[in-house]
């Protein structure tokens, strides 16, 4: 079954970039089931599509990524969440992992860093 992916980031440029990188030959086929620009929209989409993989920004309007991770992890424990955030301090990464994220990659990232992080998330 093709893994399904939801991309959550308040930047359209970043959402587009992640979607493009998901077509990298090193990755298995991914079905992008939705994109959201804030945590609230992400929560609704996650309930609807039940994605197996999620890339999640942290600094977003309406509902931030940390709260969204906690709620999605509670409702969809099978979803694997990769945080993609500019927040570069260790405490933020630790908090996100404690709330249910499975990986953390810092912005800015290059193509290889994101593909490697997605591969690790799927394995």
């Amino acid at each position: 079954m093709t893994p399904s992916l939801m991309i959550v980031d308040d930047s359209m440029v970043i959402r587009n970039r992640i979607a493009r990188l998901c077509q990298d030959a090193r990755l298995p086929a991914l079905d992008i089931v939705g994109t959201a620009s804030n945590g609230l929209g992400a929560l609704s989409l996650a309930r609807l599509h039940r994605p197996s993989l999620i890339t999640m920004d942290l600094t977003m309007p309406l509902m931030d990524g940390e709260e969204c991770i906690e709620r999605i992890a509670g409702e969809l424990p099978e979803a694997r969440i990769l945080v993609v955030s500019a927040l570069s301090d260790k405490m933020t990464a630790l908090r996100a992992i404690r709330k249910g994220a499975h990986g953390f990659i810092r912005k800015p990232f290059n193509d290889d860093q994101l593909v490697d992080a997605l591969l690790e998330l799927m394995n």
């Binding site: 308040d10 930047s11 359209m12 440029v13 970043i14 587009n16 970039r17 493009r20 600094t59 977003m60 309007p61 955030s85 500019a86 927040l87 570069s88 301090d89 405490m91 933020t92 810092r106 912005k107 800015p108 990232f109 290059n110």
Partner: protein, 160 residues
């Protein structure tokens, strides 16, 4: 609570964030010039697009990235984008302000809380900074990437 201006080491964190961003995103270094205090005698030539991140928590102030359309268009192209609308330029200038601010948390820690970016076209950034006369004077870090000039403007006080 007392407001305390940034020190030299604090300012260097932002210069490093600029270098790291261009190197990681494009594989090329930006030239980062000496930071200077902005005042009436040294006003900043604001770029076409500005992204502003507000600081809160243990800090007060804002971090602003100001860039010309040409720099942002080139950057969008390098990031694989095919849409060069104003909306995309506002999006990327805000995202860069967010990335510079987030990178600064390596040094300042999670007491530096940052907002999602607000974005403006034109010189609205100048008005945002001028409206906050209660803060320490802002300083600018000029940079040059691929021949395009831009600036990171930081107006930040630690609350002690």
């Amino acid at each position: 609570m007392k407001a305390q201006a940034l020190e030299t080491a604090d300012i260097e964190v932002f210069s490093e964030a600029v270098t790291h961003f261009f190197e990681t995103t494009c594989g090329e270094k930006a030239q980062v010039r000496t930071a200077f205090l902005l005042d009436a005698r040294a006003p900043l030539p604001w770029g076409d697009f500005n992204g502003i991140v507000e600081a809160s928590g243990g800090y007060s102030g804002r971090i602003c990235f100001s860039a010309p359309r040409s720099l942002l268009s080139h950057l969008l192209l390098r990031m694989g984008q095919a849409d060069f609308s104003d909306e995309q330029h506002l999006d990327i200038v805000g995202e860069i302000a967010n990335i510079f601010s987030g990178r600064a948390r390596r040094h300042f820690g999670d007491r530096l809380c940052i907002s999602p970016p607000r974005t403006f076209a034109g010189s609205a950034g100048a008005a945002a900074l001028a409206a906050s006369a209660t803060h320490s004077p802002p300083f600018a870090i000029p940079l040059c990437w691929n021949g395009y000039e831009a600036s990171l403007v930081v107006q930040l006080d630690a609350l002690v």
